[in-house]
């Protein structure tokens, strides 16, 4: 970033808005916005409580399980749809509907099906993340250069070789893009699921803080979640950049 002919460090935006927040908070303009330093203090205090640690564990577990399921279902389904035209015709429309549908509306139905527990959260996370993974995997598989497949066949590749040594690797940039977007959606899923169920994990904490107007704790938890979502997406983004060099190099 550059302004007035000078380089501005990326951290500047963060510092600037933290400062603005602090000033608004100190001026006591809005009850909802306590000073930023107070939020940080609340954050430091919060992470030490057993209640928070239990909620974090539960949230991470639901997130990891749901995301794992989304990968386990999404990638094979995407590969299938990329390779078999009948599967694409049968499922393509639905995947596209679900990718853009407001899935929050379905969470109450999931609650009825799976009860007010962790299973509902896991299913919600999976449902939020899986569709974009399917879609991007399919796109990646469909764009694999057909002559790479011919090449492998001409050197005696088996069916398994074609998938393991060519298709999945050639589609990796798209698959990773899908996983990154899936993770961002999964974070939304885990929060929305817990908020709607509202008796477990961070949902319970959010409910507690907002009901009792504990705004410092509320913001602390929000900041933590935002940071996690960014960090997780950034991590996959880093892996993505490692394979980026060949995403463009394909004919």
């Amino acid at each position: 970033m550059r302004a007035f002919g000078r380089d501005i460090p990326i951290m500047f935006a963060l510092v600037f808005w933290a400062l603005a927040w602090e000033i608004v908070g100190r001026a006591e303009l809005v009850f909802l916005v306590p000073p930023f330093t107070h939020v940080l203090a609340a954050l430091a205090e919060m992470v030490q409580t057993g209640k928070f640690q239990d909620a974090t564990l539960l949230t991470f577990e639901s997130f990891a399980l749901g995301m794992g399921l989304a990968l386990l279902l999404g990638i094979p389904l995407g590969v299938l749809m990329g390779r078999v035209e009948a599967a694409e015709k049968l499922l393509g429309t639905w995947v596209n509907v679900f990718v853009s549908a407001p899935l929050t509306a379905l969470v109450p139905v999931i609650m009825i099906l799976f009860g007010l527990g962790q299973t509902t959260i896991v299913v919600t996370v999976m449902l939020f993340a899986v569709w974009i993974i399917v879609l991007d995997t399919q796109a990646g598989i469909k764009h694999v250069n057909p002559s790479l497949l011919e090449m492998a066949r001409s050197f005696g590749a088996s069916r398994l070789d074609l998938y393991a040594r060519i298709l999945l690797l050639a589609a990796l940039p798209e698959i990773l893009a899908g996983v990154r977007l899936g993770i961002i959606r999964a974070v939304k899923g885990v929060v929305i699921g817990q908020l709607l169920v509202s008796i477990i994990g961070y949902g319970e904490l959010f409910e507690l803080y907002s009901r009792n107007f504990l705004m410092e704790q509320f913001w602390a938890l929000t900041i933590l979640l935002f940071a996690f979502a960014m960090l997780a997406a950034e991590l996959v983004g880093w892996a993505e950049r490692k394979v980026e060099f060949y995403a463009g190099a394909r004919g």
Partner: protein
């Protein structure tokens, strides 16, 4: 079929003998387009045969049928006396668009055919390195395809085909995606390769000069559906210097003669 004045290098009889034989090969695609019709051809061992013809005459289709990558609608390909049912270790393919794995180093790309055959890592790397050196890419083993020029990429494709030590090398317009200078150098290197490797080459090109320059035998195909129009023995000495060959009167006459035959197919 038009038959203009024939001179001594032209021979119309095409007895299907040789290491690779095409017997009654026809190919009709699903859409009903007929690409090839009744191809009978023999490819003599240790020679380079070029399939030459206008765009869409099915020359690449024929090559892929020989490779076992496509199935003919009728007819059989015989290699070493056995009917072809799919790709086999005695045939190796060089692709027009190189078909290199962008995620793999030059070394791994060249060793890929051996990797698929289960050759142990160390052994296949030793073999791959020697072929990388043979095509003039020593020192580039750890580079990736996107770091190489078009000509270098095709050398990798060639090294990969050589590494599996197949008797028959199938080359689909291997030099069409590289620039003119590289192309000439490539053609000269190919001639050295033929001299030293004692392999059978089947080569597809749309360039008349290239066909005559590198071939012992040129097969002219008619436009769709592709059928054998002529089989021409070039009778050129490929062992001499490239400069001599390019100025050779027989070479120049033959290029002109083939052009006269082919121009009849153009609209």
């Amino acid at each position: 079929m038009k038959t203009s004045g024939t001179t001594d290098p032209v021979e119309t009889a095409t007895k299907p003998d040789g290491i690779v034989q095409a017997r009654g090969i026809s190919k009709t695609y699903d859409g009903g387009i007929q690409a090839l019709e009744g191809i009978d051809l023999g490819f003599p061992k240790g020679e380079l045969t070029t399939l030459l013809g206008p765009s869409g005459c099915g020359k690449t289709t024929l090559l892929k049928i020989i490779a076992g990558l496509l199935e003919p609608s009728a007819g059989t390909i015989i290699v070493n006396g056995r009917a072809v049912t799919g790709p086999g270790p005695e045939r190796a393919f060089v692709f027009q668009d190189f078909a290199l794995m962008p995620w793999a180093s030059v070394l791994r790309n060249v060793a890929f055919g051996l990797e698929l055959r289960g050759v142990p890592r160390h052994e296949r790397h030793v073999i791959a390195r020697s072929h990388i050196a043979k095509v003039g890419l020593a020192g580039f083993e750890e580079r990736y395809p996107h770091e190489l020029s078009g000509g270098m990429r095709q050398r990798v494709g060639l090294a990969r085909a050589l590494a599996v030590d197949a008797e028959v090398l199938l080359m689909d317009e291997p030099f069409s995606a590289v620039d003119e200078q590289t192309r000439r150098k490539f053609q000269e290197d190919l001639l050295h390769l033929i001299q030293s490797e004692n392999k059978t080459f089947i080569f597809v090109t749309h360039s008349i000069e290239e066909a005559v320059y590198v071939s012992d035998q040129v097969v002219l195909l008619t436009p769709r559906p592709g059928a054998v129009s002529r089989v021409i023995r070039t009778g050129l000495d490929h062992g001499g210097s490239p400069e001599e060959l390019r100025r050779n009167k027989r070479y120049l006459d033959m290029v002109e003669e083939i052009w006269q035959m082919l121009r009849g197919y153009l609209v």
